[in-house]
C-alpha cells in the first residue's frame, strides 16, 4: 500500500535547519495498522504530513499503491487525496468555525462528488455522526459549542465521510475519555475489517497503540529506532529508548510501585542533533563508538529491525 524510502523533511528558517524527519524507510501492507510512537517532537506528525503530501519532502521517495507520489503537483494529487486522509492532532484548528457541523461534513462529501442526491447525502451525514457516537440532533451546531473530545469526533466523521483507503491517524483519540476512546478504536477496527482500510496510527498512549497495531515503529529524533510486530516490541523491546518508553507507561492502579527507567543526560535538540547515535546523550548503555558512528537499522530476527550498536 505504502512504501517510504529514506524519506527526509528538513525545515529551514532564518536561524537554523530542523531535520524533523531524517531518513525514514518502511512499508505498510494493505489492511495493516502500523503504530508510530516516539518522543514529542521526534517528527511523527511531520512524517504523516509528508506521506499525505501536505509537505513536499526534502529527499527520499514515497510510493502509494505502487505509484511514486513524491513530487506530484497539487492537481495530480487530488484523486489521491480521496484515497488517503489524515485525522489531525489539533481538532479545533481543522474545523471551520463559521460552518455548522452538518455543512462541514456535507462539504467533504461534495468536494469529492459523493452522494449527489440531497436526501441520501443527509442520511449519510446522520449515519456518520452516529458512527462516532454523537447524536444527529447536534448537526445544526457550530464547532465552538462542542467540547474538545466532541470536536475530535466531528473531525473523524468528516474523514470517514469520503471513505479513504489509507488514513494517517495523528493522535486521534488522545483528547477522548477512555470509554469513547474504546468506541472509536473499535470503530476504526470494524471499518478496517469491513473495508480493508490501512492505518498509520500515531499516538502516545502505548496501551492503545499496542491494542490496535499489527506492527509498531519507534522514532527518535527524526529516525527509526526500532520496528517490528507489536507483541514482540512490547514483550521484548530491544532499543534502550523503547525500553525506557515502555517502563514509563502509567499504571491505572494507585497502589502500584513505579519502576520507571529515568532517562538522564542532556536532552538532544533537533536544531543541533548529537553526532553518532542520536540517543547516546541519554542512553544508559552508551559505548565510546556510539558517540561517533551512526547505528544503521539492521535486521534482527525475521521481521524486526533495530538501530543500536548493542546488536547483533
Amino acid at each position: 500500500m505504502l512504501s517510504l524510502n529514506d524519506l527526509k523533511m528538513h525545515f529551514k528558517s532564518r536561524h537554523h535547519i530542523v531535520k524533523a524527519v531524517d531518513g525514514v524507510s518502511f512499508d505498510i501492507a494493505e489492511g495493516e495498522t502500523l503504530g508510530l510512537v516516539g518522543e514529542s517532537g521526534c517528527g511523527k506528525s511531520t512524517l504523516g504530513r509528508c506521506i499525505l503530501r501536505l509537505y513536499e519532502p526534502t529527499a527520499g521517495k514515497i510510493e502509494f499503491e505502487g505509484r511514486d507520489i513524491t513530487h506530484l503537483k497539487s492537481r495530480q494529487l487530488n484523486p489521491i487525496r480521496r484515497r488517503m486522509q489524515i485525522i489531525f492532532q489539533d481538532p479545533y484548528a481543522s474545523l471551520n468555525p463559521r460552518m455548522s457541523i452538518d455543512n462541514i461534513i456535507k462539504e467533504a462529501l461534495q468536494i469529492h462528488g459523493l452522494f449527489p442526491n440531497k436526501k441520501e447525502r443527509e442520511e449519510r451525514v446522520a449515519e456518520l455522526i452516529s458512527l462516532v457516537g454523537l447524536r444527529p440532533e447536534v448537526l445544526s451546531r457550530y464547532p465552538h459549542e462542542f467540547s474538545g473530545g466532541q470536536r475530535q469526533r466531528i473531525g473523524i466523521a468528516r474523514v470517514l465521510a469520503i471513505e479513504p483507503r489509507f488514513i494517517v491517524c495523528d493522535e486521534p483519540v488522545s483528547a477522548l475519555d477512555v470509554s469513547i476512546q474504546a468506541q472509536i478504536v473499535n470503530l476504526l477496527q470494524d471499518l478496517q475489517e469491513k473495508l480493508k482500510l490501512t492505518y498509520l496510527f500515531i499516538a502516545h498512549d502505548l496501551m492503545i497503540v499496542k491494542h490496535i497495531s499489527t506492527r509498531i515503529a519507534v522514532m527518535y529524533l527524526g529516525n527509526l529506532a526500532e520496528i517490528g510486530p507489536s507483541n514482540q516490541i512490547y514483550e521484548d523491546p530491544k532499543h534502550p529508548y523503547t525500553q525506557a518508553l515502555l517502563s514509563a507507561v502509567p499504571v491505572p492502579d494507585p497502589g502500584a510501585k513505579k519502576q520507571r527507567i529515568k532517562l538522564t543526560g542532556e536532552l538532544p535538540s533537533p536544531l543541533n542533533p548529537p553526532a553518532g547515535c542520536k540517543f547516546h546523550t541519554r542512553c544508559p548503555y552508551v559505548m565510546p563508538h556510539c558517540k561517533t558512528i551512526v547505528p544503521p537499522l539492521i535486521q534482527l530476527g525475521k521481521d524486526r529491525k533495530v538501530a543500536c550498536h548493542l546488536y547483533p
Partner: protein
C-alpha cells in the same frame, strides 16, 4: 484546609436551540497542597468547570446560573474583574486543553511567557525572558534559548503543550487548573512534567485540579477523584476507593473500558449507548439508558449525591 471550594455551581449556555445547562449543581473541594482528579465522559462539563474557576466563561452565550466558588475567603464569581485579573495567571493559573487556541500565533513563545511573567511579577523585560528560558528548560524543551525564538506553528504538538505548561507554572501559582495537560506528550516527558508539578506542590504547597482521561495518570498523581457525567458529579472519593471499590455504574464502566495491560481482547469494552443531549434530558437519572444496574426508580426521580460510605459519595439508587 481547602484551597478552593466549588459549591453548587451551575453554568448555562444560550444556543440557537435553547438554553443548555452544561454543569448542574457541581460541588467539590480542592484541598490545600493536594491534587484532585476530575474525570468523565467527553462533553460532561470538565472544561466548563475549569474555566468557571478562572471566570473565563464567555458571556454571552454563557452565564453562571447558580453557586459559588470560594477561594481564600472570597467568592470568585462576585469578585470585580480587576481583582480577578490580578489573580489569574498569578495566584491561580490554568493550562488549557487546546494549546493552539490559547497561544498567540504572531509572537514568539519566549516573548509570550516573558510577557506573562513581567505582567505579574514586576520584573524587567530582560529578566522575564531569562526566566521564560529557564521555564522552557524545566519542562524539557531542548535548546531552550533557541526555541524561545520559535513561533507556535514551528513547534510540535507536545512542545506547544509544554510551552503552555511553562507559562502556567512561571509565577509559582497557588492553585493550578490543568485541563488535559499531558495528552500530547509521550510517556517519558509526561512523567517528567508530572514530577515537576509534584515538586512545585511539595515546595510551595500548590493545589492542583487535574482534568485528564488518562486513568493511569490519575492513579499515579491524584489523592482524590471527582467523576462527572452529563453535567453532574456522579461519584467522588479518595483515589484508592475510586479504583478499588467504585460504586457508580458509570465509574465502573469507565474503568472497564481501559485496554488491558496484560491480556489482549479483540475488542475493547465500551459503555453502550450515547450520553443524553443536554437539551433533552430524560426524567430521572441521566445515566439510566446506558446503565446495567438500572431499576424502576431510576426512571422517575434523579438520585441525589449521597454519602454511601464515609467520604465516599455517589449519585445512585442501586450502586455496586
Amino acid at each position: 484546609m481547602n484551597s478552593c471550594l466549588i459549591d453548587n455551581l451551575s453554568v448555562e449556555f444560550k444556543t440557537d436551540n435553547g438554553i443548555i445547562r452544561a454543569i448542574d449543581g457541581v460541588s467539590f473541594a480542592i484541598p490545600k497542597g493536594k491534587t484532585v482528579g476530575l474525570v468523565g465522559e467527553s462533553g460532561c462539563g470538565k472544561s466548563v468547570t475549569a474555566l468557571s474557576i478562572m471566570r473565563l466563561i464567555k458571556s454571552p452565550p454563557g452565564h453562571y446560573a447558580d453557586g459559588r466558588i470560594i477561594y481564600g475567603d472570597e467568592d470568585l464569581l462576585t469578585l470585580p474583574e480587576s481583582n480577578m485579573r490580578h489573580l489569574r495567571g498569578n495566584r491561580i493559573s490554568m493550562i488549557f486543553q487546546e494549546p493552539m487556541t490559547s497561544l498567540n500565533p504572531v509572537f514568539t513563545v519566549g516573548n509570550q511567557i516573558a510577557e506573562s511573567i513581567c505582567l505579574h511579577q514586576n520584573v524587567k523585560r530582560k529578566e522575564g525572558l531569562e526566566r521564560a528560558i529557564h521555564m522552557l528548560d524545566l519542562v524539557g524543551i531542548p535548546s531552550s534559548r533557541e526555541r524561545a525564538k520559535s513561533y507556535p506553528h514551528e513547534l510540535s504538538g507536545g512542545m506547544r503543550q509544554r510551552v503552555m505548561i511553562a507559562m502556567a507554572l512561571a509565577c509559582d501559582p497557588d492553585l493550578l487548573i490543568a485541563d488535559e495537560p499531558t495528552t500530547a506528550l509521550d510517556v517519558t516527558i509526561q512523567a517528567q512534567i508530572m514530577e515537576l508539578m509534584q515538586k512545585l506542590q511539595d515546595e510551595i504547597g500548590m493545589s492542583i485540579l487535574l482534568i485528564t482521561h488518562d486513568l493511569g495518570v490519575v492513579a499515579g498523581t491524584c489523592s482524590e477523584v471527582v467523576v462527572m457525567y452529563a453535567g453532574r458529579v456522579v461519584e467522588k472519593a479518595d483515589v484508592h476507593t475510586i479504583f478499588n471499590a467504585p460504586k457508580h455504574p458509570y465509574t465502573v464502566g469507565l474503568l472497564n473500558s481501559m485496554p488491558g495491560v496484560k491480556h489482549k481482547e479483540k475488542r475493547l469494552k465500551t459503555i453502550p449507548g450515547l450520553v443524553p443531549d443536554l437539551l433533552h434530558l430524560p426524567q430521572g437519572c441521566r445515566f439510566q439508558d446506558r446503565c446495567d444496574h438500572v431499576i424502576n426508580k431510576c426512571r422517575q426521580i434523579e438520585p441525589e449525591l449521597t454519602e454511601q460510605a464515609p467520604e465516599h459519595w455517589a449519585r445512585c439508587y442501586n450502586p455496586y
